[in-house]
């Protein structure tokens, strides 16, 4: 600093942590308007600009913060410097000769241009003024300043003081300019605080919190611009006088602040939207210490942002919950000075994530509205400030409360913002209406929303005859067109008449051999036309079929037979060996038993009703054993008839059946065509596993419909299948990716996405897919209702994830001989009398605005692999059958949309050893191939959460390439120097060359020191922007860039990398100041 400049220094002292954070953001992106505050208003009346100017000059003399600049270059730590004197940056512009319309436009341009200018932080004052004359009696005023020097409380006091001075100056009075309390006193006070006590407090407050509360609301068109002005916007809503009055009344009744009520409401909103009872958000506190004399009148930046974390007990009364929030605010006051970066570090939330993602800010209101001064009216006040949080609720207290919701269009659209404000009001109204109610009863959705979601979108009533079984539908077709081909298998074609007659005969044979009505008959058959005869025969005999996949290991087949108490099994020569040796009778179709026993062709006289069981299909069980889903005829009848409408089938269709009988979607393939006069073409087993053969099969046959899982469609496409232009494709069993959908759509006629659990009969939702739309699972089929609910079965808003519940005709009878499990999954439907039971699917979904459902994820440990439903718990149970294994966990890793891989982790009993081969061999005996994990990892000790559950997040991934990534030591001299600096500043040992600065514990404030140290000790001219680049957060890449291009900072600008930097700075880790 030159001697002249050093003469003009009144004081030098450190920055507060919040100031440092603002500095970091400002210098890392100088073009950003973050922390640039603008106050805009109009003066109407006998306004004298020179008096206002003089008043502001007084203010600058009086208050040190208005003469402050910031130095950080060539410093270990940034410092703020107070000048003794500064010039007032004052601009006056005369627009009085312009037309009125142009005047405002020019003023707006001025405001925008001023915003783009930012501030040179090394020059004081960090504020500037513009006065625009529209006429003698009308002026526009713009004040811009950097938030680093003033908070809202301070600026309100400052304006009041300036206007007072204006009046005195106007009247020719003497104005006393006494120096105000210096901001330095606050900095000294900060430095004297007990950090250890603060650490204890915040650690306890945030104990157990592992992540920020993320509001995930569907945003159809996220704005991706790096220009914050384009991305951030706000909506305002004035609460009704009634609601405002009620809230004020509630605050008086409970003897707490309105702020506490609003925060309580916001926390409930977050909890409902995220289905979580442990939420955290931020709030801005005044930060003016009670024990610092004069702090209330000091000017400067005192505010701080601190977390508010609440754990909600649904049975708590609203009133006591709000009081708890209030008490928390009081408790926080003693430690509200703590820098957020420290608070974050004391929590368990990783540094690479934010501590919170949204804020509630109670905006300061002065005791009286500043309507004017000295006969000058202040009108059209506005302000501009940009926050780096994606969602901020500003609450303006006045007679009618005003909500301002600032939001980032990259994450939220206007619909979501409006919805949030509306739901907050619903919650608050519910608070005020009955503060004695418990939290679980607080209303979230409006009446209109409830009506739409519960009733409107579930108007699916169709008058199907539930007693009209699909067997009857088939028989009707057989009478109508007896000669029509019903079934094709290889070269064999069977007419409707033949199929009907042969199935009658088989039904009679079953009856004659003593198979009673209502029995479960096992079916272990190779794919063939005889299989259709057997299935229909079993159904006509009033029995239910239980498919046993010949590809299952024998032990699994035997388990199912025992569990289901099956006494008769229909098999053939190919599969008979799988079902030998048990206490049931075998009917071998290869021996033509019905024919040999001369069973009658007369239609079987056993009546079948809607409530009779059609089939039982076993699915994977989470506790280790598979379970049977009992499906009645009425459900199948409804399903079949619904499918005939959508996606639709006609008698001219031929459907290629490719699914194994033990997968319930085979019901559509085998029976839908037969119920509507179409033809079912059964593909052989050999065809199904070979993509080329399947492709050839499709080419060779005249099929018009085919249903398969995404895995099968992928198999076809990868076998160079050219597609079929008139083919109706049904895809289901697991999630359909956009990529697969696009690949199919280009080569086929129609594509339908099908969704449904076995428990609600094959498919419950359908959606016709088109190239220009998102992939959804769609809307309910006929006579089906859907609900998207939170864990307490409360409906969730549109766009918010929740669990899907299905009610209606498709809901089956539950699990065979598993009453407890049935009661857990099939529960009372609180929303409908006619659909009294609903099934909880375990699928995480959300509503779109038109009532369509979007599938998101699973809520539990069930996964789908190649369409097969797998309960990880079943595999784990099987693993723990091995004596040497003490504990086992199976995780699913999603490599891509259709590629999920299972990994089995095991912890051995002490003193034992085991090879993976032994494990695989054991599993091969008891599980189907698709359930056997590909990879196994022995873990010394499987990690547990504090609750004693397996902590799956801490299980190592077998798919990480450890040897090439982290922990490789620094190699070159430069790398070693930088590593040493990082070690010292972050306070850790052994920094690897590929370790990420932020993941090691570095944060934004440390990065500044790091840059300075690297620059001083290595000569590497780093720019702060450098270390923020995602690629440059490791030592290895940092040095690579340096070696390739020492002037990389300049290059970065030229290459347009600044935009990317802005995205990095908007990322977690860099916001917590």
């Amino acid at each position: 600093m030159s001697s002249k400049k050093s003469d003009n220094v009144e004081a030098i002292y450190p920055l507060s942590p919040l100031q440092e954070g603002m500095l970091y953001h400002s210098i890392s992106d100088p073009s950003s308007a973050v922390y640039l505050e603008q106050y805009i208003c109009h003066f109407r009346g006998p306004f004298r600009p020179e008096c206002l100017k003089a008043a502001w000059e007084n203010a600058l003399q009086r208050h040190d913060v208005l003469r402050t600049l910031v130095m950080w270059k060539r410093k270990d730590k940034p410092l703020q410097v107070v000048r003794k004197t500064v010039s007032l940056p004052w601009t006056e512009i005369d627009l009085s000769d312009r037309p009125n319309a142009d005047q405002q436009a020019e003023f707006n341009n001025l405001i925008e241009a001023d915003r783009q200018k930012g501030f040179e932080l090394t020059t004081a004052p960090l504020m500037r003024f513009s006065v625009v004359k529209f006429s003698d009696q009308h002026y526009g005023f713009l004040l811009s300043f950097h938030h680093l020097i003033l908070d809202g409380w301070s600026s309100a006091m400052l304006y009041k003081e300036v206007y007072s001075d204006y009046e005195k100056i106007l009247n020719g009075e003497t104005v006393q300019i006494e120096k105000s309390q210096p901001y330095k006193r606050y900095i000294s006070w900060l430095q004297a605080q007990d950090k250890e006590k603060a650490r204890e407090f915040w650690t306890q407050q945030l104990s157990g919190l592992q992540a920020a509360t993320q509001l995930d609301i569907y945003n159809p068109q996220p704005v991706t611009s790096s220009n914050e002005n384009e991305r951030f916007t706000k909506i305002e809503e004035l609460l009704s006088p009634e609601l405002s009055d009620n809230l004020y009344a509630l605050s008086r009744k409970l003897n707490i602040t309105v702020n506490s009520i609003i925060q309580a409401g916001w926390s409930i909103l977050l909890a409902r939207y995220t289905s979580s009872n442990d939420v955290v958000f931020g709030t801005v506190v005044s930060g003016r210490p009670v024990d610092l004399p004069g702090s209330q009148e000091m000017l400067g930046l005192f505010i701080n942002t601190v977390p508010v974390r609440t754990q909600i007990t649904e049975s708590s009364p609203v009133a006591s919950y709000i009081k708890d929030i209030h008490q928390q605010q009081l408790d926080i006051r003693d430690y509200e000075y703590s820098p957020l970066v420290d608070i974050h570090g004391w929590s368990e939330v990783p540094r690479t994530q934010n501590l919170f993602e949204n804020l509630v800010v109670f905006e300061y209101a002065s005791d009286e509205e500043e309507q004017g001064f000295a006969d000058v009216a202040i009108t059209d006040e506005d302000s501009f400030e940009l926050t780096n949080f994606p969602l901020v609720l500003g609450v303006c207290p006045s007679k009618q409360l005003l909500f301002r919701l600032y939001y980032d269009l990259a994450l939220y659209d206007h619909h979501a913002a409006k919805q949030l404000i509306t739901h907050l009001q619903t919650i608050l109204a519910s608070f005020a209406e009955n503060p004695d109610q418990i939290l679980s009863d607080v209303t979230l959705l409006t009446e209109t929303e409830m009506n739409t979601q519960i009733v409107g979108w579930n108007e699916t009533r169709q008058s199907f005859d539930e007693q009209n079984t699909f067997v009857a539908l088939f028989e009707a077709q057989a009478k109508r067109q007896p000669e029509k081909t019903a079934v094709i298998f290889n070269d064999e074609k069977i007419s409707y008449q033949t199929l009907s007659a042969e199935s009658d005969r088989f039904a009679n044979y079953l009856s004659e051999t003593g198979v009673e009505k209502g029995s479960l008959v096992g079916v272990c058959l190779a794919r063939s036309s005889s299989m259709m005869v057997a299935l229909l025969g079993i159904l006509k005999a009033g029995c239910a079929y239980l498919p046993l996949d010949p590809d299952y290991p024998a032990e699994r087949i035997h388990y199912i037979l025992d569990d289901a108490n099956v006494t008769t099994v229909v098999t053939d020569d190919e599969s008979a060996n799988l079902v030998q040796g048990k206490s049931f009778s075998l009917i071998n179709l290869s021996e033509n038993p019905a024919q040999n026993n001369e069973a009658s062709y007369e239609p079987n006289d056993r009546a079948i009703g809607g409530d009779d069981i059609a089939y039982v299909i076993y699915t994977s069980g989470s506790t280790g054993k598979p379970k049977g889903v009992v499906v009645p005829h009425r459900s199948v009848a409804n399903f079949i008839q619904a499918m005939a409408q959508t996606p639709g089938i006609s008698e001219s269709d031929t459907l290629l059946a490719v699914t194994t009988l033990s997968f319930d979607i085979s019901v559509l393939e085998l029976f839908l065509p037969l119920c509507f006069g179409a033809t079912v073409d059964i593909a052989s087993r050999e065809t199904l596993t070979d993509g080329i053969k399947l492709s050839q099969r499709i080419e060779a046959s005249n099929i018009t419909i085919m249903q398969a899982t995404p895995a099968t469609w992928r198999l076809l496409l990868s076998s160079q299948w050219p597609g079929k232009r008139d083919l109706k494709v049904l895809c289901g069993g697991e999630a359909l990716s956009k990529e697969l959908a696009d690949a199919l759509l280009s080569n086929i006629g129609e594509l339908w996405n099908m969704y449904g659990p076995t428990e609600t009969t094959v498919w419950s939702l359908t959606e016709k897919i088109s190239a220009d739309k998102d992939i959804l699972i769609g809307k309910p089929i006929a006579n089906t209702s859907l609900y998207v609910l939170d864990p307490l079965h409360r409906p969730l808003p549109v766009g918010v994830p929740g669990e899907l519940y299905i009610a209606g005709a498709g809901v089956t009878k539950g699990y065979l001989d598993r009453d407890t499990l049935t009661k857990e999954r099939f529960i009372d439907n609180p929303f409908s009398d006619s659909h009294a039971i609903m099934y909880r699917t375990g699928d995480l979904v959300r509503y779109r605005t038109d009532g369509s459902i979007e599938y998101l994820n699973r809520l539990d440990n069930q996964v789908k692999i190649r369409g097969y439903r797998i309960e990880l718990g079943e595999i784990e149970s099987r693993l723990m059958e091995i004596d040497e294994i003490r504990l086992a966990v199976v995780s699913a890793f999603r490599i891509s949309a259709e590629d999920v891989r299972l990994v089995g982790y095991y912890q051995l009993q002490d003193g034992t050893s085991l090879t993976v081969t032994v494990i695989r061999n054991h599993l091969k005996k008891v599980l189907p191939a698709y359930m056997i994990p590909q990879n196994f990892m022995e873990i010394k000790k499987i990690p547990l959460t504090p609750n004693g559950k397996v902590d799956r997040k801490k299980l190592p991934s077998p798919f990480s390439n450890v040897s090439l990534s982290n922990s490789e030591p620094p190699e070159t001299a430069m790398e070693k120097k930088i590593a040493a600096i990082w070690q010292e500043l972050i306070g850790i040992q052994n920094v690897g060359r590929h370790d990420n600065f932020f993941e090691l514990g570095g944060h934004s404030l440390l990065s500044m020191q790091t840059i300075i140290r690297i620059r001083d000790e290595t000569g590497y001219q780093l720019d702060l922007r450098t270390i923020a680049m995602e690629d440059l957060q490791t030592i290895a890449h940092l040095c690579e860039v340096h070696n390739e291009n020492p002037d990389q900072a300049q290059d970065m600008e030229q290459k347009g990398l600044m935009n990317r930097l802005k995205q990095v700075f908007m990322k977690p880790g860099s916001r917590n100041l």
Partner: protein, 261 residues
Amino acid sequence: MNPYYFSSSETPLYGVYHSPAQMGANEKAILLCPPVGQDYIRTHRAMKFLADQLSAGSCHVFRFDYFGTGDSSGDMQDADITVWQNNIREAATELIDNSGITEIDILAVRFGAALAASVDISVKRFFMWDPVFDGRQYVEEIEKLHTDMLHDNDRFSTQQTHDKNDGHVELLGYMYSNNLIDAIRNTCPENMTLTARQYYLVDSADSGSDQLMRHSILNGINKLETINGDMPASWSELQNLEIAYLPFRLINQVKEVILQG
């Protein structure tokens, strides 16, 4: 990288599975069959390096130790060729199970190539790295190396004698049973039982005097490609006995071929 034991619990084999960093389409799987004896020590680092390089791409890799070698169970003196052939089959199954890829590649080094070639297995590609096909010549080489080593004044201050136990012989620090030595000596896989769609010969500059035998065998193979490279040291020179074989350039060439295929 996931090290674990496979095969039976009575005779566990040590294996290391490397999962690919780039998963999705175009995944490959390759089994690395090591050499035996001192060659194993010399090539261990190269094999690991190659495995790391391949799995940094889209390749599943499985490395393992034969029974009686490395970290696998058993003693070398109890090993025989049949057991080692079975080990290769089991390791191949492990790789298929881990990767889900049914058609794998095999890369086998020195005598490992002879072993792999004698296994009745079908693979997509077979990489033979300086393969030893003339067992007799191979045994003579290591016997000579052993004798020269014992007489090397730079290694021993006094000359050492060749240690022979009943039924076993020590060669370069490894105990071979007489049966194993005889079996190795008799190795001459003129009719390979391994079949592959594509064969590769990874041929370093000086790969011993096996060339004639190799030439005649490989001439019978359709679809053979050669990857040449410079070798830093010969396999049969005494002064290179303790030098790790780490030809980076050649390894990178091989890596490129494997990943692109």
